[in-house]
């Protein structure tokens, strides 16, 4: 789970990592109130879980109250790289002398923790690493070991903090490590970690975390009841939320063919098969794509299958639905009972294309055949099933939107 900047700041603040004063606001009215307490000039920062928001116009400096309100009215309705802005942070503007980058993350390849820093902060880390690879300093921490003041001080010197800043930088690195370990994070990033203050007054200068990004490990949620406040109810997809309640993993995509399967790999593979079969061709210029990812898991019951179909069919963009099951623990017969339950009791009318293999596949297919339902089609292989689901979706979309398809044909 990625946190918004205003949430990440709370976790840094708990460990006394210096951050600028700021208030979270959701309307221009709240922004006006926030400016009163933060003062001017201030920075209005759109809250989104995606990088490069500054270039997209999501961060603006305001010298007057009117500017602050106008800025927030620009930013609040924005969608940045597909992510809807969720409020703004009204932050005191600091005089920046220099910007550093520091992060601690889980390194999947070396299976340890990676402290990464550079004197060139302020932009995205990928750009920094690309432009100044020689200045990127890294320290790998073995999961059996700890990060201590000596290592942090050595690291701070290597990064290139000036004399007087080394101790403060080392302290911040250690505190970031504490945040990382105690919150079960997979990423704690401060960018920029800025040197702020009056250039002519040495005593005013200090380091301050001007922006932060934190990702938490979803698997550790059971030992962090306090994370409930981070759940993004406002931006949550209602179908994703409903699936989660049933312990199902559902991801909404933007196509027309619903996809249900057992096992994350097989479902991803089914999505790819649908997208492959749905590429525009000479016969049809309409691209057919998967509408969702839904994994019913291992050993799913008939009820789980019926609920899954109901969730997928609730997406108004879904026309046909591909059901791809390789029965290992899961019984294809049980899945067939779930399908029939959904069709018969819930009145589902979307065309279904079913492919069964493995455990009780024959029995499952027999049940479907006996039902003799015109909405249920059967295919032998995943590839055939995907092609069939695509061709049904193409007819359905062609018929429901004949103007569009005629235009496309011309």
């Amino acid at each position: 789970m990625d946190l918004y900047e205003y949430q990440a700041r709370q976790l840094l603040e708990k460990e006394d990592i210096p951050i600028p004063a700021a208030l979270y606001a959701r309307s221009s009215h709240e922004v006006a109130q926030a400016v009163e307490s933060i003062g001017l000039p201030c920075v209005i920062k759109g809250q989104v879980k995606i990088g490069h928001r500054g270039q997209a116009g999501g961060v603006l400096l305001a010298d007057t109250l009117d500017d602050a309100i106008l800025d927030s009215e620009k930013i609040l309705p924005m969608t940045i790289h597909g992510h809807k802005v969720n409020g703004v942070l009204v932050t005191e503007a600091k005089n920046i002398i220099h910007e550093y980058y520091v992060s601690i993350s889980l390194d999947r390849a070396s299976r340890d923790y990676d402290v990464l820093a550079t004197v060139h902060g302020g932009t995205e880390v990928e750009d920094i690493a690309h432009n100044h690879p020689e200045d990127v300093k890294r320290l790998h921490i073995n999961p059996l070991e700890d990060f201590d003041l000596e290592a942090a001080t050595t690291m701070a010197k290597e990064i290139g903090f000036y004399h007087a800043d080394v101790d403060q930088a080392a302290e911040i690195l250690l505190k970031m490590w504490k945040v990382f370990k105690e919150t079960d994070a997979t990423l704690v990033e401060i960018n920029p970690l800025a040197k702020i203050g009056n250039p002519d007054d040495e005593s005013s200068k200090r380091l301050c975390a001007l922006d932060a990004k934190i990702s938490l490990d979803n698997n550790a949620a059971f030992r962090h009841p306090e994370w409930s406040e981070f759940i993004d109810a406002q931006n949550a997809d209602p179908l994703e939320a409903r699936a989660q309640k049933h312990g199902l993993h559902y991801v909404r995509l933007d196509g027309q063919v619903g996809v249900i399967g057992n096992g994350a790999g097989l479902v991803m593979s089914s999505l790819d098969a649908v997208a492959g079969a749905g590429e525009p061709s000479a016969a049809s210029s309409l691209a057919i794509k998967p509408a969702n990812f839904l994994d019913i898991g291992g050993g799913a019951s008939a009820d789980v299958m019926a609920e899954s179909l109901d969730i997928v069919a609730s997406d108004p963009h879904v026309s046909s639905i591909l059901i791809n099951v390789y029965g290992g623990l899961t019984s294809c017969k049980t899945v067939a009972q779930g399908i029939l339950g959904a069709v018969e009791s819930n009145g589902l009318t979307n065309p279904l294309v079913v492919r069964f293999d493995g455990n009780e596949a024959t029995e499952g297919l027999q049940l479907l055949a006996n039902a003799n339902n015109p909405h249920i089609h059967v295919s032998d292989t995943m590839e055939d099933a995907a092609a069939s689901a695509v061709s049904v979706a193409r007819e359905w979309n062609g018929a429901s939107d004949s103007t569009a398809s005629t235009t496309e044909r011309n």
Binding site: A109, R111, D217, A264, L266, S269, M382
Partner: protein, 308 residues
Amino acid sequence: MAMTPLFIGNDAPVIVQGMTGHEGMKHTARMLAAGTNIVGGTNPRKAGTSLSFDVNGSPVDVPVFGTVAEAMEKTGAQASVVFVPPRFAKSAVMESVDASMPLIVVITEGIPVADSAYFVASAVKKGLQIVGPNCPGLATFPAAPGTTGANLGIIPDGITQRGPLGLVSKSGTLTYQLMSELSDIGFTAALGAGGDPVVGTTLLDALKAFQADDATKACVLIGEIGGSAEQEAAQWAKEHMTKPVVAYIAGFTAPEGKQMGHAGAIVSGGKGTAQEKKVILEANGIRVGSTPGQTASIVRQVLAKLGE
């Protein structure tokens, strides 16, 4: 001629941690029916008792021990299969690591990655092998007469038989799918590496084992979005492998920043895409199938070329 065991020796004694739980009991019965030599389970509250399993019509009693160390001492167990729920998984796996269990297969899904990183690092330090977590386990198909191999985990038995292929995969159902598509050819072993960001046996580790195994003639590698395990395996294979590897990658249509079921299956910062993996695999001489079915066809062509 003595065979070098692939991952685990023929008929090696195995214990199950979490055997008395619902999942553990169900899968212990399955593993026994598949011929796995299960000699015990652990549960400190039920130590000294035993569980009776129906194995192809005849009852088999499996003793319950208080600790892994005791189970190893009494039975000589060489492997443990872990079915313990996420919140207790770290201490269960560490119990096996502390007892120096040579092979620990962790099936549990949903373990915090900090816990996995800790027990994997502990196992690496002691030279022990962890498979998983969040994996279907390991199935071996040894050639030695009178042995049925080891089925450690949840891979369904009876899909396939002994043959010249080695398979490693990040996904359970895609493992079964490819085993099924190539069931007539057969396998030396199928290893589920797992879908978590940190796993004990990487795709590369499995390729190393298959390269060292005389009976394995070609490998099937099933990857998915997230991380760079496929790329690292491919780079190693190009330099060190004499055996062909055929791959399949799932998740070409996965959007940025969305976790696709598995904890590790996520494209972040534009990295770990299926396309990036395919390009690097192909640049390292590994053919990548566009669907599981097409991947199986490529494997058949490759074997025909080898004269297998």
